[in-house]
């Protein structure tokens, strides 16, 4: 309990110190949601009901894509890159806990801050002003929550793998620009996978990225239902297992290399 309060206090201090940044971040999120809302609204006014989705479903998809960024986005890669660059990573490695779990715990903490300060307020704005709908039924709502948690874990591991790369590449700043857009593109954050041309869709369907945004949001708007939704969750779980194993293997290899370098 004592630990909890000290954590809560330090979190509060962190938010207070960066309140201007948080406020601006919130404004940015609202601008993004607003922008994508109009894109789909115009396109679906041109062609109502295109691709078996209603205007409301599509705008909900778009706005949720922007709003959920705060729910699933974690940044272990930045922390890892700075620590590796400065050599301070050795203090992290000396701590009596597993580095991979330590990063996960940090990321979950960051995620809760992001959700509380930015994510939930952004969602409220989306519900009130941007006509975002609720899931069609309770089952879809519950599956969405599960899928969202899996999405967070998937993206965390992808980011963790990128962070491990910092051991070899030293500077991951440039790679991360392209990486972010790949996640956004193949993850279906802006444009859902069912609109992709067949050959691009075929690639996006098998890669783990679609487990980040596409599956949770498709379940949310009722595009993936019943068996398909469960298959979606299964897809996320399978990739999660693969990525966890990959992260363990890659990090231990990176760790060995790091020790040789001497930090």
């Amino acid at each position: 309990m004592k630990i909890f309060w000290s954590f809560a206090r330090s979190t509060f201090q962190f938010i207070a110190a960066y309140r201007f940044d948080f406020f601006m971040e919130f404004v940015l999120a609202v601008v993004r949601m607003y922008g994508i809302y109009w894109v789909w609204r115009i396109l679906y006014t041109q062609r109502p009901g295109a691709f078996g989705v209603s205007l409301e479903q599509m705008t909900t998809y778009g706005v949720m894509g922007m709003a959920l960024e705060m729910f699933i986005w974690s940044r272990p890669q930045w922390y890892m890159a700075t620590q590796i660059k400065s050599g301070a990573i050795d203090t992290d490695l000396m701590k009596p806990l597993d580095f991979h779990l330590y990063m996960l715990a940090r990321s979950i903490g960051e995620m809760f801050i992001g959700v509380g300060v930015l994510g939930l307020p952004a969602l409220i704005i989306a519900y009130i002003f941007l006509g975002v709908q609720f899931p069609p039924d309770l089952a879809a709502g519950l599956m969405f929550v599960v899928s969202l948690v899996l999405g967070f874990l998937l993206l965390f591991h992808l980011n963790f793998l990128l962070g491990s790369l910092a051991v070899v590449a030293m500077d991951i700043r440039h790679i991360s620009w392209a990486y972010f857009s790949v996640v956004r593109f193949l993850g279906g954050q802006i444009v859902p996978l069912w609109l992709f041309p067949p050959f691009v869709a075929a690639v996006a369907e098998v890669l783990p990225f679609k487990g980040t945004y596409f599956i949770p949001i498709s379940i949310y708007i009722g595009r993936l239902t019943g068996m398909e939704a469960i298959q979606g969750l299964g897809f996320q779980i399978v990739w999660l297992v693969v990525l966890v194993l990959l992260s363990r293997v890659l990090w231990s290899a990176a760790h060995r290399r790091l020790v040789i370098q001497g930090g």
């Binding site: 201007f20 922008g35 109009w38 894109v39 396109l43 620009w177 392209a178 593109f185 444009v191």
Partner: protein, 267 residues
């Protein structure tokens, strides 16, 4: 003035040499920026491929819009990207160095860095504009050809002036990068989509308050022949240079105020 310019060119050359020492970093940066732009254009392409057009804009017109913005932006990112880092200089007190030397602090700060990523944007922008021009079968008049570089430079200056004003916030609050990001966010929307798809208040905002629509949307209307001469707002297609000029005047006043406000953190 001539003296300041000479100093600036000298500083830029030094910064460029410093940058180019890291060859691998340079190549990675270029490749990644090109990939990022290709993905952005791909997304626009997919949307329009499925819906044929976006409020009357076909795919090559949207690419033109995107690349016209990018061409103005690349000159900004080449020479002025480090406005973004102004807050670091102010928080750490390293801004003092610019005030101690007997030259304009602005010129010194500007010459501090060159971002080669601008070259990657430039190659994408030029390739995109050439492709759009041929595929749209455009035939510009001489006047339009002469106006084109003016528009590009105006775009650069609009973005530079806006970013400089935002960067100056750091003189008061110590933080400004998020405010610059805000301008950037509007930029991204204006770059990707024609603003006529958005609601009225957004159009007013990017026309009158954060006038980034003058970087690409309004001049593109004119260059793509989408401007209706009968429309009461047709003149907006021609005033980008004026907008740039006004913003520069305001930005220089803000900068002067900010410098007076500066008190070193003693770093």
């Amino acid at each position: 003035m001539v003296e300041a310019l000479r100093l600036y060119v000298r500083l830029v050359r030094l910064s460029m040499q410093a940058r180019l020492q890291y060859r691998a970093d340079f190549i990675m940066g270029m490749l990644n920026i090109i990939a990022l732009n290709a993905i952005n254009l791909g997304l626009i392409g997919i949307i329009v491929y499925r819906f044929v057009d976006m409020n009357g804009w076909i795919v090559w017109e949207l690419f033109f819009l995107y690349c016209l913005w990018l061409l103005g932006h690349c000159l900004y990112s080449l020479f002025f990207w480090h406005f973004w880092e102004m807050e670091e200089y102010i928080i750490q007190g390293t801004f003092d160095q610019f005030l101690l030397r007997p030259a304009s602090p602005f010129v010194q700060f500007m010459g501090r860095e060159v971002q080669y990523i601008g070259f990657a944007d430039m190659s994408v922008a030029i390739a995109g504009l050439v492709l759009a021009y041929t595929n749209l079968h455009l035939h510009w008049s001489l006047a339009q050809w002469l106006f084109f570089p003016v528009i590009v430079i105006s775009g650069t200056l609009i973005e530079t002036a806006l970013t400089l004003m935002m960067a100056c916030i750091a003189f008061w609050t110590g933080r400004s990068s998020m405010a610059i990001n805000l301008v950037m966010e509007f930029n991204v929307l204006v770059q990707h989509y024609p603003i006529d798809i958005f609601g009225v208040w957004f159009r007013v905002l990017v026309t009158g308050i954060i006038p980034v629509a003058f970087m690409n949307y309004y001049p593109a209307l004119m260059l793509l022949g989408k401007l209706d001469p009968q429309s009461p707002t047709a003149w907006l297609g021609y005033i980008s240079p004026l907008v740039a000029l006004i913003l520069l005047v305001i930005a220089s006043v803000v900068w002067r105020f900010a410098l007076q406000r500066y008190s070193s953190s003693g770093g």
